[in-house]
């Protein structure tokens, strides 16, 4: 009951947040976003034709009217059709969001799991060569741009100049094997870069926890290292780890990864969102903004519940 009440309270409290985000985003879209009119026009447009398109796009309406329309769209969950492709926004998201999730999950899970494991090892051997080696590797991962990692892995694993084992581009989830064929190289590139950031972050959290009195006491009592790490260190380090993981989820679901999708030819939501930003496709942008804001509210809520699970001292009030 306590959890249910908390969830309800948090969801209600999230409404102003979502409204605030939509308002600010809409101001930016309307006043600073690209003007779609000139992409839709033909080669010798007349002033009347320009006015027609502007009217169809709603540009001639006052801001308040347009924002009210936006709110109505949020309530009805009907964001209309893309101004570029004319496809319904709901269909676009239904088609592309699952692809982006399927693309991101392996890299996200492996990047975090391996990050925690490597961070534990590095923390355990703090100051020794193992720690230095892992941190050096992490620094390399952080230093190399994602774009270079993508191109490098693509050439290494997929191109005829490299091992030529996997496809350069494409996406197919018709069978698990096909999925694995197409997701492997993007995942390797993601993990390579994510490990750098994750390992350093998690190591710092774990090292801090290792210096606490209760850990020192447990060590003095002769608690075995595995038990010490699992019960006394990892569990107590979980709050920052959960926070980091939870707040990554909306980004994965909605933003996707533009670079991965572009370079590997994956029809995900990242590319759709990017195209919408650069072309001023407002119906898609409006939907993405709302979805992102709602997911952040949910992620925050889940994070709070997870805090309670990993640390019973946390109260959901």
């Amino acid at each position: 009951m306590e959890v249910f009440q908390y969830v309800l309270r948090k969801l209600l409290a999230g409404i102003p947040l979502v409204l605030g985000v939509t308002l600010i985003s809409f101001v930016l879209i309307v006043y600073f976003g690209p003007d779609k009119t000139y992409e839709l026009l033909g080669k010798n447009p007349t002033a009347d034709e320009i006015a027609e398109i502007r009217s169809q796009l709603g540009y001639d309406q006052p801001f308040v009217t347009r924002y009210m329309d936006y709110l109505r769209e949020i309530v009805t969950l009907d964001f209309g059709s893309s101004e570029s492709t004319d496809e319904k926004v709901s269909s676009i998201l239904a088609r592309t969001v699952p692809t982006s999730i399927a693309l991101a999950i392996p890299g996200f899970v492996l990047g975090n799991l391996l990050g925690v494991v490597l961070a534990l090892v590095a923390a355990y051997y703090r100051g020794f060569w193992v720690d230095k080696f892992i941190m050096g590797f992490a620094a390399v991962g952080m230093s190399i741009s994602f774009l270079i990692a993508i191109i490098g892995f693509q050439i290494l694993f997929s191109s005829s100049d490299g091992l030529d084992l996997l496809p350069v581009r494409g996406w197919d989830m018709s069978t698990p094997l096909q999925y694995i064929r197409y997701v492997t190289v993007p995942t390797l590139a993601t993990v390579f870069v994510a490990l750098g950031y994750n390992t350093r972050f998690y190591r710092a959290v774990i090292v801090e926890e290792m210096t606490r009195d209760h850990v020192r006491t447990a060590r003095a009592f002769g608690v075995p290292p595995v038990q010490l790490f699992y019960r006394n260190i990892l569990k107590n380090s979980m709050i920052p780890i959960v926070t980091r993981i939870m707040f990554s989820i909306p980004v994965i679901v909605i933003s996707g990864s533009l670079l991965l999708e572009s370079y590997f030819g994956i029809p995900g939501v990242g590319k759709v969102t990017y195209d919408a930003i650069v072309t001023g496709d407002q119906p898609i942008l409006k939907a993405v903004v709302v979805l992102t804001a709602v997911l952040f509210v949910i992620a925050q809520l889940l994070a709070d519940i997870c805090y309670r699970v990993v640390d019973p001292r946390v109260s959901l009030k």
Binding site: P34, E39, L41, K43, P167, R169
Partner: protein
């Protein structure tokens, strides 16, 4: 624990086997299928003919829909032939009435939009409906400019509310399979416009059935139909109801001397389409496109990226492939049907027209000096591997009216002459006006600007007086051009049809902003000649008028022009085709055949 371990090992084995397997086909395994995998630099946004304004959209549209006319597959310069029409149009002696008989027995693709899902026969009424859609604002048409002010009653039909039930006097079906078009004044390029994707014939049922989403659910009578389409690729298969027509290579303009090495003679006398699936990949990233192309089982066609030129070619003059690549790939260089150029905005009193005649005279000298200070050869070497064709004026080499004998003075780099000209007309670092150079973000755009500024500094322009203004998107800079906000407009122009009229109209006074005359050039003599030529069929008299207009643009120093890029296309040896990525060339995919790489015919081509 033991069972778990075995399962884990089994899954791992599957993963490794799956990951390492090769092959890309989506078609049923075990069936010998022919798939052509083509690549384009960008994705089309709409497959509705009324919005086929980009090269990418046009290439798909002309393969999904039929047009009355098409360009012959192999003939260069381009030449029209009937497609849906049974013959070239019958034109009345005054050049105002075109009568076009349409083939019988042409069927649209099967689609749920039709009763029983069976595609019905295409008639002249479908063509009329399709053309009317360009004048219906609710379709957001991009091609109406081709017929605006040309066809009797069409503009008035739009003004009256675009009611499809209302007939248009100049656009009628005089029988179920005869189209009659009546013009307000002669329009010699009319037949060319009927070969563009814009004039693809659509069935009304499908437009009404799919509503706005007709743009992603194309239903045409073309050689292919769409199976899937997203931001990364489109998959097409042969359209079951498409007519069976035998290829007559001689009629298509086959030239054995220049085309036999591509194996296209193998399709003579056969009935296309020859492939079972056409996959078009939209790949912006050059490195990914190249990696995919050089694999044996992914895309089979790609342009040669600049960064690979040194590796792939042994020479750029003539363009010669490295023997290792020549063994694997066909190569063809093709002159762009278009050109790149910059126009001064004549509405800017600092550079163009001015109330003060003396200042206007000095502005003319300033523009001429800047043109002399622009190093076309260097631009060609820096960005186009030195193989682009630099030419004077605005009639590009690809059109029949190109004037090969025209003086090249306007494209010769002459910084000293430019400096002298500026000095002689009272221009110095203090008096030279600020020039705002508009561009979009990106390293290439930035380098274009830096190169331009360096050349201008060499003729005495102060660095701080050439100011960069970056627009976030193409839409934003297009808005600035349309609204006459920039003093210099740099762009590329792709020909809609192979007639110099298409580039000369860029300087026609009535087409000034927001029209395509971004430079707002207004010259009564030029406009009069343009009007005269506009009603003439190709002839020496018309060509002479074109040349005189071209000379006026050069003499008035209105534009820094120009260069037609030369693209280097590569495709796998087992693909029998002559690809053409120009706006007027997308229909080549209809003729593509894909052979077994080990077939003797392919071996003979190596």
């Amino acid at each position: 624990m033991c069972i778990f371990r075995h399962r884990f090992a089994f899954i791992l084995l599957l993963v490794i086997l799956g990951a390492c397997s090769s092959g890309e086909s989506e078609l049923p395994a075990g069936v010998d299928q022919k798939v052509f995998r083509y690549s384009m630099d960008s994705a089309p946004t709409s497959l509705d003919p009324v919005r086929a304004s980009t090269l990418y959209a046009n290439q798909l549209v002309v393969n999904l829909y039929d047009t009355l006319y098409v360009y012959k597959y192999l003939q260069r310069p381009y030449e029209l032939r009937p497609n849906l029409a049974t013959a070239m149009p019958e034109i009345s002696p005054d050049g105002l009435t075109y009568t076009i008989p349409v083939k019988q027995g042409i069927y649209f693709a099967d689609d749920p939009a039709f009763p029983g899902g069976k595609g019905r026969e295409l008639t002249a009424h479908d063509f009329i409906y399709s053309l009317k859609r360009h004048f219906d604002p609710s379709t957001r048409p991009a091609g109406a400019w081709l017929w605006q002010g040309r066809i009797v009653g069409l503009d008035e039909w739009k003004q009256a509310g675009s009611d499809y039930a209302q007939e248009i006097p100049g656009l009628r079906a005089t029988g179920s399979h005869v189209v009659q078009i009546r013009l307000k004044r002669p329009y010699p390029q009319l037949v060319d416009t009927l070969a563009l994707g814009f004039s693809g014939v659509v069935p009304r049922e499908a437009v009404e059935y799919y509503g706005r989403e007709f743009s992603i659910n194309p239903v045409g009578s073309g050689p292919f139909r769409l199976v899937s389409y997203d931001s990364s690729r489109a998959v097409l298969v042969p359209q079951e109801n498409f007519r069976r027509e035998v290829v007559d290579l001689e009629y298509e303009g086959y030239d054995a001397a220049t085309q036999s090495q591509y194996g296209v003679a193998l399709i003579d006398g056969r009935i296309p389409p020859f492939i079972d699936q056409l996959e078009i990949y939209f790949i912006k990233e050059g490195s990914a496109r190249w990696s995919s192309f050089t694999k044996s089982n992914e895309i089979q066609y790609a342009g040669l990226p600049n960064e690979q030129v040194d590796r792939v070619l042994v020479s750029t003059n003539p363009v010669t492939l490295n023997p290792g690549y020549a063994e694997q790939y066909h190569m063809k260089t093709a002159l762009e049907a278009g050109f790149v150029f910059s126009t001064f905005n004549m509405d800017f009193p600092e550079f163009g027209y001015n109330d003060d005649p003396e200042r206007e005279r000095r502005n003319h000298a300033l523009r001429c000096a800047m043109i002399r200070g622009f190093d076309w050869e260097s631009r060609n070497d820096s960005w186009y591997s030195g193989i682009g064709k630099v030419f004077p004026g605005i009639i590009p080499p690809v059109v029949p009216e190109y004037d090969a004998g025209l003086s090249r003075d306007s494209v010769i780099y002459d910084p000293e002459g430019a400096r002298s000209l500026l000095a002689a007309n009272g221009w110095n670092t203090a008096t030279l006006p600020v020039l705002t150079y508009g561009t979009t973000p990106g390293p290439t755009s930035r380098l274009f600007f830096e190169q331009f500024r360096a050349w201008m500094m060499r003729i005495g322009y102060p660095k701080e007086k050439i100011v960069l203004k970056t627009y976030a998107t193409f839409g934003d800079i297009a808005k600035a051009w349309r609204n006459s906000e920039l003093p210099l407009i740099s762009k590329g122009w792709g020909l809609d049809y192979p007639d110099a009229e298409n580039t000369l109209q860029l300087f026609y006074g009535p087409n000034a902003s927001p029209g395509s005359n971004d430079g707002n050039y207004r010259n009564a003599e030029y406009d009069e000649m343009f009007r005269q030529a506009g009603v003439m069929l190709p002839s020496p008299v018309r060509t002479d008028l074109y040349h005189r207009m071209n000379q006026l643009v050069i003499d008035d120093c209105v534009a820094i022009t120009g260069l037609s890029r030369v693209g280097i296309a590569l495709w796998h040896k087992n693909v029998i085709a002559l690809p053409d990525r120009n706006f007027v060339g997308g229909r080549f995919m209809y003729y593509v055949d894909v052979l077994d790489p080990d077939a003797p015919e392919v071996q003979a081509l190596r």
